[in-house]
Symmetry: D2
Subunit: 377 residues, 4 copies
């Protein structure tokens, strides 16, 4: 499975989630809950609270907004790609006024444009700035620390919310040091779990906003979680077996070392791009330094259907490439290199693409795999 997530779940994690479910109100559960809640802090790099939802990432997107905002609030978002667009639609559906800084889907969010936009909002009507860290539809990474600086330069009090559903635990991420107020993430990418858990990390400022935020909420309400979480419990039934897996994943990440995990993904991104360029194809992310180590989106040559190529490659080489979404549908395919991925798995993936290009008669220069191997060896 080489699509950009869900990532392949390592055997250790599959084994962990297949342990017998224990009573989530019983005395033994506290250790499970506390390990998960505290362990996640080390992954988000935060001293603040991390909330765990039995829900997919879409739920954590919603949670971030309904916990901190009120109906009609203005929210600034940046169009990095398909997932930023979906988050904007969700905000609108919740009754927020979501405003987009448009983007060309070929890079991350632009701090300068954000600063300029905020500077014009002298009455501070904008209540939140929402940015996608790793845009899974394009393979571009937004410079989160720089966006923080932009907000500060504009002296704007808006909350800063970041979606790192596909970035966390693959790319460096620092909730506290980067001054993020709400971080949204999920289980099935860098954390290498099956889908079913999602997360909010919240700053003191965000927790404070929660007290006056008027959007309707119950399941997502942070206020209900804080008390039980102190002792490792949850206000409603948690997804116990996925928490077993989460705890195993946190151990695995620390055994390898987060910095090693990040370096591995950076190396794989560079090798994948070397192959793509050798083939004579174009990487969708056109902004140097913002290419993702999690996945590489590749533009299909004109006159060729990316989806037809993906189908052919799946059939002949059993390799599943990500599809182009909405604006880039059928024009792009995506190579995932996330989660529990090593050098040889990357070579195998690139070999599948190269053999697929040949099989589908897509014009290309052979030898991309060899080019990637040069980078890796």
């Amino acid at each position: 499975m080489q699509i950009p997530g869900p990532s392949a779940v390592p055997d250790r994690i599959l084994s962990a989630i297949s342990q017998q479910t224990i009573d989530h109100r019983g005395p033994d559960f506290a250790a499970v809950g506390l390990k998960a809640l505290n362990g996640l802090k080390t992954i988000f790099k935060t001293e603040e609270h991390v909330f765990i939802y039995p829900a997919s990432g879409t739920g954590a997107w919603e949670a971030a907004l309904v916990n901190t905002l009120s109906p009609g609030d203005r929210v600034l978002m940046f169009e990095t790609g398909h997932f930023a667009t979906l988050w904007k639609k969700l905000a609108e559906k919740l009754g927020l006024k979501a405003e987009f800084i448009e983007g060309d889907w070929r890079g991350g969010a632009d701090p300068d444009q954000i600063e300029a936009y905020l500077a014009k909002d002298t009455s501070h009507e904008i209540k939140a700035v929402c940015v996608v860290h790793n845009e899974t539809s394009t393979g571009s990474v937004s410079p989160i620390a720089a966006v923080r600086k932009a907000i500060d330069s504009a002296k704007h009090p808006a909350l800063f919310m970041v979606d790192t559903i596909s970035g966390l635990a693959s790319l460096d991420y620092q909730h506290d040091a980067w001054g993020v107020d709400v971080t949204v993430s999920g289980s099935q990418k860098g954390l290498m779990l099956p889908p079913g858990l999602s997360f909010n990390a919240a700053s003191a400022k965000a927790l404070n906003a929660n007290k006056t935020a008027k959007l309707q909420r119950s399941y997502w309400d942070w206020a209900e979680m804080l008390g039980p979480n102190q002792t490792g419990y949850f206000p409603y039934t948690p997804a116990t077996n996925l928490l077993y897996g989460l705890n195993e994943a946190i151990d695995m990440l620390h055994e390898e070392g987060l910095d090693n995990v990040f370096a591995r993904h950076a190396r794989h991104g560079a090798a994948a791009r070397a192959a793509v360029r050798h083939w004579g194809l174009e990487v969708l992310c056109a902004t140097q330094g913002q290419e993702s180590g999690v996945l590489t989106a590749v533009k299909m040559p004109d006159g060729h259907s990316a989806d037809a190529f993906r189908a052919s490659t799946l059939e002949h080489f059993d390799i599943s490439l990500g599809n182009g979404l909405s604006k880039v549908a059928d024009k792009v395919f995506r190579i995932g290199h996330l989660g529990d991925f090593n050098d040889l798995m990357l070579v195998a993936t690139l070999a599948g693409v190269e053999m697929g290009l040949k099989k589908a008669d897509v014009p290309h220069e052979e030898g991309g795999v060899q080019a990637a191997m040069q980078m890796l060896a």
Copy 2:
């Protein structure tokens, strides 16, 4: 584990959920999704739609309300016990006017009182009647078909919503034949799964109400699900591995036969009550014919702490009894006999209770286990 849920997860299901996660957008997923969606219909006994949420049961409670109601709507609920009370609080938190017919926690919902209450609402301001089928805090079962008749007798157009989180797949339940509009359920009781999935079954009338309902919703919105579900897919990332388990559970229930499953639980409930009565203790459910086959709540003799007894029994016999909740805290303990449970597991559970009563010096007549065995043999 003998608490009233989560039930012990059978090995077959643990094995199913530990299979490798597949791409929830890929071609192989359709079969998984369709089997789950269609299989659930056979469990809810409905030809209508069943929605699957990656969420705990609390989420499905919320979903039932936000999909069909508007802010300020009046909702009639019946105080069967703790969980009915929690559902009422949730309704209030969402901005509904929830009204309780008070109960003594010793039986299910009373159709006559419901009919009388609705009859007075001549202007049909009440938009929904909400009843808990199997009240996990008391071990009482509401007569759902009779409540439907009560609503019809009152010629009242309110939607009929039923929580059978702990009843489904243990007690007979008929979404269509009983005229329920929204049924709420979850994965971790009769379906024998780990927690993390919950469900709404919706009638045509409920789906119609969804079109005009004004409560804020996004994650829970049925409207987004209907389209993708047609082909076995979901609008956002499903909890794939729990779906594997769900499909295995559906197979297991049909292999045994739903009627056999129901008969088994009925027999276990009767045997458990025989033991309790032999001990000289009182079953909390005082309404004949409404005692649950899923769990048996037992009143502690005056002057004895139910929680101290539970702690002692856990320590000495490794058996986990359910605690009394809110109004009956420390006054009641609950014996679970749900899910994948057989005669000998019931005997073992009752033996643990009887040996626990002795160890904790709770006055009782010995021989309750033998009395239960008489019923079972």
Copy 3:
């Protein structure tokens, strides 16, 4: 499963054996092999060598003999029951002269008879004395330390071999302190593993005998094992995944504490016998102090078929009782209480037997379960 073995395999062990197989010649294997080899010493209570065979217990019986004896050697065995008889037949098949002290299958080996027999062998033609520790066909335990004393009293140099296939890790066993030369055991009883591994523990005297023993051997030959075992390896491909399980089992036994394990089985044996006697049935083992804590064999009342009773009990209560073997075929049924077994499992088992007696119209006094509970509480 309540037969006297294979015992129910705990989830922890099933999970361990489902880990990916590693290269048994690679560097990571050493830790697995050494943990198993050294860990077993703590279970056999020996400082000597323990040999691990990818084989069932029958193989370890053969290994004990072919490694130490020569064609035509005389061997003294004691007829404790069916398994002692099988071991004797195996010895004869290998070309040894096996001699039986006959027994009535109602107790363990008798040290006095052994001493008397050896005393007559003034020319020391008898090369080995072979005794079954826990005779699985009868539920009797031989007094191993006393047999050692008997051999010593007779001043006889024969090797002392003990089969504790079903006793090890359930009953106290001390290879070194009791002066045993070769101990034979297997994986699927007290070690709680699936079948597929078996063992020989060998004293220095036995290892010395190996050098001159003339029976044909290759697969079983200790001499080939000793070298590779020093560093945790094996001369041929080991059953790697079962070794994973073995290491987990050794951890589990030490977590509970071997003495606690032994006490638990002793208590279960006493409670089982209390039930049997209350029913008015007879325990096969008639020698006080030699009743097994691993299983209890029960004599069927005259005129009743034990096998018909067993079949009926399996059908109606899903409980699998052990059958009577050879001399006691159809006259005895056996209740297993070995391995990972707790008080409530024992009660459940006894309840199954008692309900089974009722269902099959076997005359008995009701209340045996209650009698057992008296012993346990």
Copy 4:
């Protein structure tokens, strides 16, 4: 893991072996046993009997000999490599007179030499001809059908025994059609299981020889197996959980189709050799048409240590190559492509070797991976 076995165990099989152990004497076991016994016949392509041992492959080697031969019997073997040599030593240890036709380890057994050797044995003192089908130490395949013809041409009555421990279920094998009398195999190669099971397939002639063969045997004795096997049972405790895995493996092989499995391995062998030759290295098997599809042994350039190269490659690219054994120790490394192996896993393996050659400064032409991809695409 790319060593030439044990092969990586597929998740389906790991899941199968982690099911609860059932009673090997109980009624449910028959289906498990019969499926294994009959299923294996379809893999060995025989209508005769296949014996299953809870033992490693070494045990099945011994079983083949002790079941059919008598002390002092002459046996003709062919020195295809290390494993043929081990089998010969084992024969000698059992008291047989094993005679070698020497080989250079660069091809399979030579039918012409065998015919010539047998032709000289006019008194028919040679009782068996033993050949290794797929010699795991060299990557050469013996022409089994041609050896059968050679024996027939020599009009020699010797039994024909073949070791296909590493060939079965990867290379075409036809026990009946090729006139083999005893076929030896094991679980951990083409059958994709963990080690712990091994097999003998026996012709009517071999079963007949069993009746008069005088070598000492008990555990391995076919005669004890035949009866119980008729109904799916075994004379001693089988390795139940490995049988679960075996049954799953047989299903997987038939789902893919044996011919497709063979074609896949043939293709992988050809691609691996293309890479090796592109690198400018030499394939150990020098006999055209006898190169193995299971593994490829590669000669290390003079002056370079194969073992140092293997250690470096393991360290840097986490790829485990097989070592050179005895005569070719340190001069050869072996690339495994056995079992559940696909095109991209082969590319990944070859990439690991090529990057390893670079890292270890072994002179080679880059582009071997690309050459293999040409063969595969």
